[in-house]
Amino acid sequence: MSGDHHPSPWGPHDWRHGAPHNSWAPFILSLGVAIFLFTLAGAFKFGEFQGWGNVPLIFVGLGVIGFSLIVWWRQDMSFGVNGEVFEPKSAGTPFQNIDIRKVAMWMFLMSEMMVFTSLFSTYMRYRFGIPNCQTVFESGEWVEGTSVICFEPAGHLIASSWFHIAPGAINTFALIISSFTIVQALRYAKKKDIDEDVRRRKVTRYLGTTWFLAILFLTLKMIEWFLGFPLPEFLHEFNHGDSSIKSLYAEGYLINADSYQHHAYDTHYIEAHPNDYSIPEDSALYAMMEAGTHPGGHMMADIQVSATTFYVTTGTHGAHVLGGIVGLTYMTLKAAKGGYTPDNAVSIEYFGLYWHFVDLVWVLVFPFFYLY
């Protein structure tokens, strides 16, 4: 390192003098996040908006966050100054000679694992700790008109028919295919023995496909949560005679659902649809109704906890997909301009790590939140 070099904590950094160790960006970012969260929390009280007083400060917080990211970007991402490409290596134990960005990405993914572990353990805790709605219904320990607290897994609605499961199942395949397409983009970006134009087209095509699949994922998520979808007439008979697949919102599966009612918990509906539903003959409810000690009816459930764990976990995952779309948009446009060469292809690899992680989380979310 030359003696007259004075690295700036504001960037851009000259990588020929090694990695930067001084930056104001993390401090500014922390300050911005603190302003944003404090003022956002102050703007609401028990879900009620408290007026516009805090709103300007919320935007100030977001502005400070944005400013810190620009500083960080200028300082740490200036690998291509004057046309030169630098990929700084880590010097510390145990990551000597591994690209700094790769190590950083894995550190970030470690923290992400902890975030999702918190969400999963919360889900498990409530799933096992609160009696299942089906179990409560069959126990007969409910009275029509009085809400009972129970756990209604989203899978009860989603896995109830092939049509309901379709958006989640397609999304699973979409994420796996997108994991593959981004690896293919990396493969072609790294290839040295192909024409530049062929490389540009292949990388753009694979990154574009990944982008499209990510958009498809969120679109299907919206259909599943809010929109639902109509079915052609010849399929109605396979959907209990209904003309559409209802969204979770339309089914009343909401975080504030304290009086949720589903037809599977309605004895009159069950009696009218013997081919689709039945009350198990060995259940307490069946025995009570046979003995005339339970009048039957429509069980009403407080499912706020189950709906909240579902939406928070799948929503957090969806937010990660949204973040991926932002990155993929930039990368696809860059690839279209021929911005990726074997020298800088590792950027695709490092983004790919994030994207594969999003896929990994879905590998667990899909079976345990959608199917079970």
Binding site: P94, M113, M114, A169
Partner: protein, 120 residues
């Protein structure tokens, strides 16, 4: 990038095919009538489904991490695998002591793990 083959074929394509097949089995397992299997095992259909889903999720998880995320076969795979496994302790603590606990745990725990059982 991978410098090895799986059964003589490109590892990414093989991994892709494997993941697609496992996912298909996963979805079919949910649609299939597993009640006879559950009856023969003396358990509920949901439990059988959960076991199938868990058993399939493990290889899927490993296939993505090892092959797509290059935790197998690269020069730095070893140390990065250790890095990825570092939160495992935290995950274990969270799952065991938050996810699998119950408010009644202090009173319904088996004798061998209650205070006083060993005369302490």
């Amino acid at each position: 990038m991978a410098h090895y083959k799986i059964m003589g074929q490109d590892p990414y394509w093989m991994n892709f095919y494997g993941l697609m097949i496992l996912t298909l089995i996963e979805v079919l397992a949910v649609g299939a009538d597993l009640a006879p299997v559950a009856d023969s095992l003396g358990t509920e259909e949901k439990v059988v489904t959960l076991w199938i889903l868990t058993i399939i999720a493990i290889p899927k998880f490993i296939m993505i991490a090892a092959i797509f995320m290059h935790l197998y076969g690269d020069e730095d795979s070893g140390i990065l695998t250790m890095t990825a496994l570092f939160p495992a302790f935290f995950i274990l603590i969270m799952v065991l002591f938050v996810g699998l606990t119950h408010p009644d745990a202090p009173s319904s725990l088996p004798d061998w793990c209650r205070p006083g059982n060993y005369g302490l």
